[in-house]
């Protein structure tokens, strides 16, 4: 046993020293480049600096494709760090048009609401303070009843303050295309309310210098009561009314048909769209443009079956339409074998993916066995023996990344996911898994199934969606409405169905009524 443990420690150290040190210096060289590209803030794909190799050149020899990671993807890549290519230009223009509208509009409504709210909160205090400041000597003395009113006023104001903070002072997560009707209604109501109170106050109290202080305090208390009720109205309109489900929304993504059903309450179209997008980011698997098309070999074969020759007739329009009609007819009559080709191609692809997945799983499991968490009490035991290097998680991750990198690369390429996972991100995630004692299966979960879109986002900037609807977007949801949420690459088509009205009936079952008889089938010989 002694020899075994020494041998394993030796081999571990040797492998660690030989390959990982080389990897470390190679990766340190490339790490700065990779960080630059990710800081550029690309939105939907992570762009790797070109020419970054995944492994030593020797180990990837014999691979049937290129050695370079991410080079054969179909998504936007920069050609080099310095030059600006066409893709860069479109990307930059997209950035510009996204950033500016969002920043200003986001805060306008919040600022307005905050100003109005502050005004409304300060008003009762102003009502109380102004007579004291202006004509203190003429005021009727007001003993215990006033003090009671002061206390109630103070507590109600405190409650108003706390609930306003809890309900309304949350950062808004979406800007809607049109005014949010309920919010506008409430702001208008508060404004009208406070304005009318001020008007009355100005005419009846400030002008004639009213001396009945108790009445004034009662007036201020009634204002605070009314503000509390308005807040209750706001709570019901903005938060509570749409909690009871009334409609079922079916959301279908146009590019790959991923669909979900959601239940919502009574909302306007724009509010429903905002809520829906929240759910979209965590429920829908990420849109991978590389996975969409039929293999080219099948599609092109359809077209090249017949060649049509124009025999030199002069009426060109007739000839062209006749030609196309002939082609269509010929194509229709030809026996179509593309479905069998599609079937076999799909089976082949699936087999390849499964083979690579098996290799990946085995490689990762083996890689994880090379690492063990260092226990403190072992320090005493291991010191007389071969001293093991104690590594921090980052180094440990880099050490065990080497044997599994190639299998990982091939698997990601087979499932067309290579654009979503850069080498850096994989090592980061590996480090994360090692730190939290995750098993190889937990590490692989992220790569074996495409996760929700949220996982691949950088949340530094907002996302621009366009709501396309035939009806005004502040109209409330109705049966059989359809609206679309568009992005440059794809869109979500939403269909609204009303949830059915449920008639629940009642049937009482007496517990004693459960009785059974045997099904007899006897045969008697006579």
């Amino acid at each position: 046993m002694d020899n075994e443990s020494m041998y394993s420690a030796y081999s571990f150290k040797s492998s660690h020293s030989r390959t990982s040190r080389k990897h470390r210096e190679r990766r340190d060289k490339h790490r700065s480049k990779a960080r630059d590209s990710s800081l550029r803030g690309d939105k939907s794909v992570s762009i790797q600096a070109p020419g970054e190799t995944l492994l030593d050149v020797e180990s990837t020899r014999g691979d049937d494709r290129d050695d370079n990671w991410g080079e054969t993807t179909t998504v936007v890549t920069g050609t080099s760090v310095d030059s600006v290519s066409q893709e860069d230009l479109t990307r930059i223009s997209k950035d510009l048009e996204e950033s500016s509208p969002l920043e200003c509009r986001r805060y306008f409504g919040v600022v307005l609401g905050a100003v109005l709210g502050l005004f409304a909160l300060v008003t009762p205090l102003a009502f109380l303070a102004l007579p004291q400041l202006l004509w203190r000597d003429n005021l009727d003395p007001c003993g215990t009843p006033c003090e009671g009113l002061y206390i109630s006023l103070a507590f109600k104001l405190l409650i108003l303050l706390i609930s306003t903070w809890a309900l309304f002072l949350r950062p808004t997560r979406a800007t809607l295309p049109r005014f949010f009707i309920f919010r506008c209604l409430l702001l208008a109501l508060v404004f009208l309310f406070v304005a009318s109170y001020w008007l009355f106050y100005g005419v009846r109290v400030l002008e004639p210098r009213e001396t009945d202080y108790r009445g004034i305090v009662g007036y201020a208390a009634s204002l605070v009561d009314a503000l509390l009720f308005i807040q209750y109205l706001a709570l019901v309109l903005l938060e509570v009314r749409h909690l009871q489900p009334a409609f079922c929304l079916k959301v279908v993504r146009t590019t790959d048909g991923a669909s979900r059903f959601y239940s919502v309450g009574h909302l306007s179209i724009q509010r429903a769209a905002a809520w829906l997008l929240d759910q979209y980011y965590s429920d829908f698997p990420v849109y991978n443009p590389a996975l969409l098309n039929l293999p080219k070999s099948i599609l092109t074969r359809k077209m090249s079956a017949f060649k049509v020759y124009n025999l030199g007739e002069d009426n060109s329009t007739n000839a062209s339409s006749g030609q196309s009609r002939a082609m269509i007819a010929a194509n229709a009559r030809r026996r179509d074998n593309s479905h069998t080709e599609f079937y076999y191609e799909e089976a082949e692809v699936e087999r390849r993916v499964r083979k690579r997945k098996a290799r990946l799983v085995v490689a990762v499991e083996e890689a994880f066995t090379h690492i063990r968490r260092h226990q403190e009490e072992e320090a005493v035991v291991s010191s007389p023996k071969h001293p093991r290097e104690v590594m921090d998680p980052r180094e440990a991750a880099q050490a065990i990344f080497a044997p599994m990198a190639r299998a990982m690369q091939k698997y990601l390429r087979a499932t067309r996911q290579q654009s979503y996972h850069s080498m850096e991100s994989i090592i980061d995630f590996l480090q994360f898994c090692i730190t939290h004692n995750m098993t190889p299966k937990a590490f692989l979960e992220r790569y074996l199934s495409p996760g929700p879109t949220l996982q691949y986002l950088d949340s530094s900037r907002g996302r621009q969606w366009t709501l396309v609807s035939e009806e005004p977007v502040t109209a409330s949801l109705r049966q059989d409405q359809v609206f679309t949420l568009k992005r440059p690459d794809f869109s979500l088509v939403v269909t609204v169905t009303r949830l059915p009205f449920l008639r629940l009936g009642e049937e009482f079952v007496d517990p004693k009524s459960h009785k059974f008889v045997m099904k007899l089938q006897s045969e008697t010989s006579v």
């Binding site: 007899l520 006897s522 045969e523 008697t524 010989s525 006579v526």
Partner: protein, 138 residues
């Protein structure tokens, strides 16, 4: 042979007379019966309609008295010695057949082939053939 409640049942029956055989201490007839109003009619393999709760012959000992008399498997027993067997319990049927005091048992049984035989025989000829088949009205 489907029974419609309230309507008279018409069937072509055959008279069979079986002499009981004395075997050790009891008189046996040499066949087995199944069915009855207290049994599950759905499991009867011989009945035409699976709601028929009549008494059916399920097995015949080869060479026994019933076999000799011409009773066939799958026959529905309509009467035993004048007593009706179409609406009886299984146990009542057994008792009627195994009365120690009776040595001869006269059964009226029906089967599907009897109906066809009567039709065939009544076809070209005017007078019906004289055989054991009788049309009995219930």
């Amino acid at each position: 042979m489907a029974f419609v409640p309230g309507q008279p049942l018409t069937a072509v029956v055959q008279r069979i007379e079986i002499q009981k055989l004395q075997e050790r201490n009891n008189l046996i007839l040499g066949f087995s019966i199944g069915g009855g109003i207290d049994q599950d009619p759905g499991q009867n393999p011989f009945s035409e309609s699976k709601s028929d709760k009549g008494i059916y012959v399920t097995r015949i000992t080869p060479g026994g008295p019933a076999d000799v008399s011409g009773l066939m498997m799958g026959d529905k027993i309509m009467q035993v010695n004048g007593y009706d067997m179409t609406m009886v319990t299984h146990d009542y049927a057994r008792k009627r057949l195994t009365k120690k005091s009776e040595v001869v048992v006269r059964l009226l049984v029906t089967r599907k082939s009897l109906e066809q035989a009567v039709k065939q025989s009544m076809g070209p000829k005017i007078t019906p053939k004289c055989d054991n088949s009788v049309t009995q009205h219930y």
